[in-house]
Symmetry: C2
Amino acid sequence: MSLTSVACCQLALAVGDPDGNRAVARRAVERAAAAGARVVILPELTNSGYVFRDRAEAAGLAEPLDGPTVEGWIASARRHGLILVGGLCERDEDGLIRNSAVLVDAGGVRAVYRKTHLWDLEKTVFTPGDELPPVVDTAVGRIGLLVCYDLKFPEWVRTVGLRGADLLCVPTNWPLSPRPAGERPAEVTRVQASASVNRMFVAACDRAGPERGVAWVGGSVVADPDGFLLAGPRPAYDEGLVIAECRLGDARSKRVGAHNDVHADRRPELYRSILEPARSADPAEV
Amino acid sequence: MSLTSVACCQLALAVGDPDGNRAVARRAVERAAAAGARVVILPELTNSGYVFRDRAEAAGLAEPLDGPTVEGWIASARRHGLILVGGLCERDEDGLIRNSAVLVDAGGVRAVYRKTHLWDLEKTVFTPGDELPPVVDTAVGRIGLLVCYDLKFPEWVRTVGLRGADLLCVPTNWPLSPRPAGERPAEVTRVQASASVNRMFVAACDRAGPERGVAWVGGSVVADPDGFLLAGPRPAYDEGLVIAECRLGDARSKRVGAHNDVHADRRPELYRSILEPARSADPAEV
C-alpha cells in the first residue's frame, strides 16, 4: 500500500483582505506541493479571516463556489496534481452565508460541507448546514470533511467514520485558551481520539497569527488510526507546514487485535437514546 | 460548590486468587479513605483477575452480587463513609457470567452495569450487557459507570453524559501496547476527550502488575470537564493511589464560552445514521 503525503498549511491571514489571503494560501500550497504533498488542507475561512466585526462584514467577504478563491484552488490542484481542502466564507446558491469546507481536485469542486455546529458569534453570521458531511472518493482514497467545532461532537465524526473515510480533513480556527503546563491542547486530544475510535487518519489545519486580539492554538496535526500524531503540533509554532506520510489504506481495516473491530463491535441497537435531547441543566447542589 | 476527592486504586491482582485480591483491594480502599477519598474506584474484574485460561476458569471465579466481594465493598463503604465502584467477575441472577461494574455505598448495592462492548477473549467468556449504563444519584453527585473497552465507543459514553452524569467511573484493565516515544497512552487520550465533549469528570482505574505475560498501561487517571488531567498517569508507575479533588458541580454546566453549550449545541435530528451499521470493510486499493 502506498504512502500519501498530507499537509496542513497553518496560515496567518487577515480579516477583510481576501486578495492577500488568497496569495498567502497560494504560496503555501506551492510550498506544500514542492514538499511532495498530495493532499493539502487550509484553515477555516481562508478567504475572509475569522474575527468579523459583524454579520455585514462577513457577508461582504463571502463568495460563491465559482468565485476567485475556489477557482484559484482548482488552478493550484491542476497545476500540482493534488487534492485541496480549504475553509471558505461562502455565499451559497440561496444567498445564505455559510462556513464551508470545500474539496477540489483537478476535476473541479468535488464536495462542499457547510459547518453544522457553529461556535460563538458564528451563530450570528452563518446559517448552519443540515446535511451529513460528505465522504468523497478521490485518487488517494476516501476523504471526509468537517469544520472546527464539529469535532466536539463525536457522533458527528462517527457519521464520517462509518461511511468509510480513510482521512478526515478539518479546516479549523481554534482560539487559544489557557491550559495546564505540559498539557497538549484539548483540541488536539480530541483529534487523536476521533482518529482512534474510528481507525481513520485525521488532519486538522489551524490558523496562525493574531487577529483582532484573538490568538490561535496553532494546533495543526495529522493523527494516525491508532490516535498518535504523525506531525504537529509544534510548540510555539506559527505559520508553516505540518506534513506527514500516511498509509491511508490502513484505515480500511477497523480491526484491533485478533478479535475486535471498532466498527463491527458497535451495538447501534443500544444507541437510540443519543438521538434524544440532553437532560436539561440542573443547578449544582453537589 | 464543594470538592470531592476521587481515588483510583491501581492494583496488582492475581488471577485465581479471589481471597488475596479482596484483601489487596480492601487495604487499598483503606489507604484511599485515609487520604480523604469520598469516591473510590477499583480495576476491572477485581475479584478474579483478568487473564483467564478459559471460560471454565472465569466461571469458577464468578460470584453473585451478594457474594463476599461485594459484601466486603459494602462493609468498606459503611466503615469509611464512601462510594465504591469496582469491577466484578459476576455470576448474574440467570447464571450468566458478566464483566460488571458495581457501585455501592453505605446503603448497599446502588447500581450494576454489565460491560456491553467486550474485548478480545472476553467474547468467549462473558455475556455482554444490553442495558444502558446506569447514572446514579449519590451523596456527592451523579455517577455513571462503564468498563474499559466501552470507552472506545463515544456514542456509548454520550448516553452517560446526556443523562447528566457528573462523574463517569470506569474500571479498566488496559493491556499495554507499543506507543511512540513521548506519547501518552491512547487510552488516556480517549478518557480526556470523553470528559471534554461531555463536560463531565471521568475517572478510569487501571490494573498494575503483570499477569500471565500480560502487562498493563498503568493508565489510571482523573480528567476534568475541560479534558485535562487532574491526576495520573504516572510514568513507570505500578501499584498505588491516583487521587484528585474534583468540583463535581462544575459538570452541571455544559457551557463553553458565552454562546455555546456542548449538549444543547448537538443536532440529534442529524445523527440518525449512526444507528446504522458501518460500511463494510473494503480491501485497500489506495
